[in-house]
Structures are given as structure tokens and as C-alpha cells.
């Protein structure tokens, strides 16, 4: 396997039907389990056959892998938390995880901090054009599309449109902007996310570039990815064909379009925030943060937060217990702790009962920090976190307000 770009599908017609785009991922997972290349698979399963109700599934039986088939845009789960919190960071088991780019980035960040064992994880990255919250999506299908949410069989984002497939095979499509005008938007973090293809995982899988064929376009991103795919092909579980230049171009084109949209949206948002005066910005944030009811949802959901003895707990003596809203340091400690490593996964804002736009704040700071330190969270496992790393060159850089030799104060 010399190239990195392939189209892949399962030779098994049953799996082809159940999975998305030829069932390549399903087949690969099944093969990996059967041949003990991993101890378990962590994927997403529908509950009660609903496309809005997803639950993480830890699968150890290869014959049950097909239950987790299909990409779900209306059920963005917190995959990283399962590994980090409930499975001891994959310390004593090898797990294959299907993950969105933000999940993959969070795994990389945690791996840098020794909170998950990267060697034990086989990350199957899934391309992502954005997700909707399940309750928003259900209402959207009902009100904007005029269809019964129970009839939903599939959904796809393509070229600025949301295309839904109903159980009878028919499709409906609507412009994302039109939906936004009606009050139905993707999660805020998705709108500004430039990571549509998870190249930081072991393989990146998706539909872009498959030119409508029932096949998954796979980009191999690591030697572990090579290893697994090679084995699967040898074992007859996967058919792979080198991607043509046309297909690669198509994929690139779609990615570029989506990334440009996201970057434009992010720029608009950041410009707006930067356009406020200092006092306006303070009142804006304090006004939002004062609604906090100290549910700890943000901290519990954040894939990056991992301290066993958290600063925010009252017994630490930092944030007095029993106050609603808690001292503003609660929010500012969270902010300063994730400043360099926020991967814009949006889980914090999803769980906030008081609808505080947390990702807006964390992303705002993270973009500034990323710029100063030339650090992108969650992309390169060999890039050390900026606030706990110093280089020898810095011993020879004198000014207190820069760390790079060849740049003026940023």
C-alpha cells in the first residue's frame, strides 16, 4: 500500500446495505474484532431506532458491530469522555473508536498529557460537515421540512444544503441558510469548525470524493492505519481501490469550500467580538456568565478537563461553595485551563442549562493563543502544549513580550 488515498467498500452485501457508503468502516471494525487486533470497538448506536437518540456502544462481539452502523448528524456524542473517564484512558485495553474530527483532536491533546494511551487506540476518523442537537433537529424535521421525524432514514450535508432521506427512499433538501433563518442551525462550534477531515486520526473516512458510489473514501494518516487496512484487505474483509486524481480533486474541492465557509463564519464572529470596546466586552461576558448555576456540566463534559482534584470543587478552597452564581473565578479558571487546548468540540455549550455561549468564549481565546504560540490543539501529537514547554532558544530571546526570534510582538 503505497498511496494514501483509496476508495473502499465491504465485499459483504449485507454489511454494504447496513453501513454508510459501502460499509467499509463497519467491515473494518468487525474484522479488527474478529482477529483480535482490538479488544473492543467504541461506536455510536441508535436507541429505539431513532436517528435522534444515540448512545455510545462498547462492542466486544464482532457479530454486533453492524448495530452501530451509519453516521448520525443529529446525535453528537462525547466519545472522548467514555475512554477518558469510564475506561481508564484505554490503559489496559485496545479500542477502535469511530470519531468526529473534534473527538480525534481531543484524543491527541489528551495523549500529549498522558491521559489516554494513544498506542491502545485505533482512531477511525469520520469526515464531518457539522451536527445538529437532537432536539433542534427533531423540531426542524417537523416544522421546516413538514415531515414526521420517525420517518427519517438518513441525513447528509452537502454543498450548503441539508438533504434528508425518508424511510420510503424519497429525499428532501433545504438550504442551510434558509434553515438558519427559520431558527434551525447547526451547533455553534460546528459552524466555525475548519476540521472537516480528521487527518490526526489513524484513517480519515468519508463520502467526499466517492462520486456518488457506494464506497468510502479513505485517507491513510498513520502507519497503524496502513497496518489495519492492509490486514483487512488480506483477510478479505475490505476491497480497496486507489483513488483517481479526479476523485481526490473532488474531495479537495468540497473540503476547501466547507473550510472557507467555516473560516468566514469564524472571522465574522471574532470580528464582532473584537469590535466591542473593552467595557462592552466585559459587560457582554459577565452578563452571560452571571447566569451560571454551577452545575459543573461544562467541566464534566469537557474532553480536555481531567484533573482528579479539580480547582473548582469547594473543598479546594478556591471557589466558595453554595453560591449561585459561583464566583466569576469559576468561569475564568476553566477558561485559563483550556486556553491552549480547546478543540472546539462544543460539548460544554451543549450541556449548559443557562445557554451560556461557552464555546464562543473559549474559541475566542484559543484562536489568540494558537496564533501567539503557533500551536494548533489536537493536530500533531508531537507538538508539545505551549504553556508547559519552553525551548532552549528562548534563553536567548530577551523581550518579555515575545518568544519567537523572528517576530515582533504579536
Amino acid at each position: 500500500m503505497e498511496n494514501n488515498f483509496y476508495l473502499a467498500w465491504s465485499p459483504d452485501s449485507k454489511i454494504q446495505e447496513m453501513g454508510s457508503s459501502g460499509g467499509a468502516v463497519t467491515s473494518l471494525l468487525k474484522f479488527a474484532l474478529e482477529n483480535k487486533m482490538v479488544d473492543a470497538v467504541l461506536a455510536v448506536k441508535k436507541r429505539n431506532n431513532s436517528r435522534f437518540d444515540a448512545v455510545p456502544a462498547l462492542i466486544t462481539d464482532p457479530d454486533l458491530v453492524h448495530e452501530a452502523a451509519g453516521a448520525m448528524h443529529f446525535a453528537p456524542l462525547n466519545m472522548v469522555k467514555i475512554i477518558k473517564e469510564y475506561l481508564d484512558g484505554a490503559m489496559d485495553m485496545r479500542v477502535a473508536v469511530t470519531c468526529k474530527p473534534c473527538d480525534a483532536r481531543a484524543f491527541i491533546e489528551l495523549a500529549k498529557r498522558n491521559q489516554v494511551h494513544r498506542e491502545n487506540l485505533f482512531l477511525i476518523g469520520l469526515n464531518c460537515s457539522g451536527t445538529f442537537l437532537p432536539t433542534v433537529a427533531e423540531q426542524m424535521i417537523r416544522e421546516a421540512y413538514g415531515e414526521n421525524p420517525q420517518d427519517l432514514a438518513g441525513e447528509e450535508v452537502d454543498g450548503g444544503k441539508l438533504i434528508i432521506t425518508l424511510k420510503d427512499g424519497s429525499t428532501r433538501e433545504k438550504d442551510l441558510e434558509e434553515l438558519a433563518r427559520q431558527g434551525f442551525e447547526m451547533r455553534e462550534n460546528c459552524l466555525r469548525c475548519s476540521y472537516k477531515i480528521p487527518r490526526m486520526a489513524d484513517i480519515a473516512c468519508g463520502k467526499w470524493g466517492n462520486k456518488g458510489n457506494a464506497a468510502t473514501f479513505i485517507e491513510i494518516c498513520s502507519s497503524k492505519g496502513h497496518e489495519f487496512l492492509e490486514a483487512a484487505v488480506q483477510g478479505g474483509a475490505l476491497v480497496m481501490e486507489t483513488a483517481t486524481d479526479e476523485q481526490i480533486e473532488e474531495r479537495k474541492r468540497k473540503e476547501t469550500e466547507a473550510v472557507e465557509n467555516a473560516q468566514a463564519r469564524e472571522k465574522k464572529e471574532l470580528d464582532e467580538l473584537k469590535g466591542y470596546s473593552s467595557q462592552q466586552r466585559l459587560e457582554y461576558w459577565v452578563g452571560h456568565l452571571n447566569r451560571c448555576i454551577k452545575c459543573f456540566g461544562c467541566r464534566d463534559a469537557c474532553p480536555i478537563c481531567f484533573c482528579k482534584e479539580c480547582y473548582l470543587e469547594p473543598y479546594r478552597g478556591c471557589i466558595p461553595g453554595g453560591e449561585t452564581p459561583p464566583d466569576i473565578m469559576f468561569q475564568l479558571i476553566r477558561l485559563s485551563h483550556v486556553a491552549d487546548s480547546c478543540v472546539n468540540c462544543g460539548q460544554c455549550q451543549d450541556v449548559c442549562p443557562m445557554e451560556i455561549p461557552l464555546t464562543r468564549l473559549y474559541n475566542f481565546l484559543n484562536r489568540e493563543v494558537a496564533d501567539i504560540f503557533e500551536y494548533e490543539p489536537g493536530v500533531d501529537i508531537n507538538q508539545p502544549p505551549p504553556l508547559t514547554t519552553v525551548t532552549d532558544q528562548e534563553l536567548f530571546i530577551d523581550p518579555p513580550d515575545i518568544i519567537y526570534e523572528d517576530a515582533s510582538a504579536r
Binding site: Q279, I328, E368, V390, L395, P400
Partner: protein
């Protein structure tokens, strides 16, 4: 702004360089504004950004950190961490809506008595011009209303 505003400034000084430098300024009878309250640490690398942010939420008008010059830290690279953290903290303050100029990092060696006085004078002037800490005013209003 009519400046009878007297800013309160918290100064973190490292034991080996800046604190000694401040001492030198003192015994040399150098005049500098009395607005600083000093906390001595063994190294500025001990400063968690939270200390800075906490001070500013408690009502302090400015935070001054003075450490050894790069390459001269008693512990090797402590001050390099400080520099990075201050860069981040300034951005955090700016994002939140507190003027990043309220945080200032300077390198002051043990022999640099005059420099210490100068740094304090300049920073006090700057903080005076910025005015009272807006976050403290906001929180005070909330509690008293």
C-alpha cells in the same frame, strides 16, 4: 480623567533577582510610587495565571510581575514559563474585557535598582490612566444593588 485615583497594584517579585533589585532601590533611597503591594516568590515560574486573574477579580487595579532576565533564572528556565503564561493571560484578559495593559511583565536583575523604580513608576502611571478595574466595579455593583 481627574487623577485622584490611586491604583492598587499587586507585585510578584522573585527572590533572587527582582526582589533583590527592589531592595537595592530601597537602600539607595530611590523614589517610586507607593502603590505596590509585594508578594515574594522564589521564582516567577511559580505564578499560575489564576493568581493574576484572581487578583484582578478581587479588585486590584494592576498586576506587576518582575523576574530575572532570560538566561539568568536561578532555576534555569522558570522565567521562560512565566513569559509564556503572561502572554496567554494578557490575551485572556483582553478576551474577557479587562485591559491587558493591567498586567505587566518586566525583567529586573538584582543589580538593577534604578530599573525597578522606573518599572514601578511607569506601570503605576499606566494603571492610573487606565482607571479603576472595571470588573471590580461591576461585581461591587451587583452585590450592593
Amino acid at each position: 480623567m481627574s487623577n485622584d485615583f490611586d491604583p492598587k497594584i499587586l507585585a510578584f517579585l522573585c527572590n533572587w533577582c527582582s526582589y533583590a533589585g527592589a531592595d537595592l532601590a530601597g537602600v539607595s533611597r530611590m523614589q517610586y510610587p507607593p502603590n505596590i503591594r509585594v508578594i515574594r516568590l522564589m521564582c516567577t515560574g511559580r505564578i499560575d495565571p489564576i493568581f493574576i486573574i484572581n487578583a484582578l477579580t478581587r479588585g486590584v487595579d494592576g498586576v506587576l510581575i518582575a523576574g530575572c532576565h532570560p538566561g539568568e533564572c536561578h532555576y534555569g528556565k522558570g522565567n521562560l514559563y512565566t513569559r509564556r503564561r503572561v502572554l496567554m493571560t494578557k490575551k485572556l484578559l483582553e478576551c474577557i474585557g479587562i485591559e491587558p495593559e493591567r498586567l505587566h511583565l518586566a525583567w529586573v536583575a538584582a543589580s538593577e535598582g534604578p530599573k525597578f523604580a522606573e518599572v514601578v513608576k511607569e506601570f503605576t502611571e499606566e494603571t492610573k490612566n487606565l482607571g479603576p478595574n472595571p470588573l471590580a466595579t461591576l461585581t461591587r455593583e451587583e452585590k450592593g444593588k
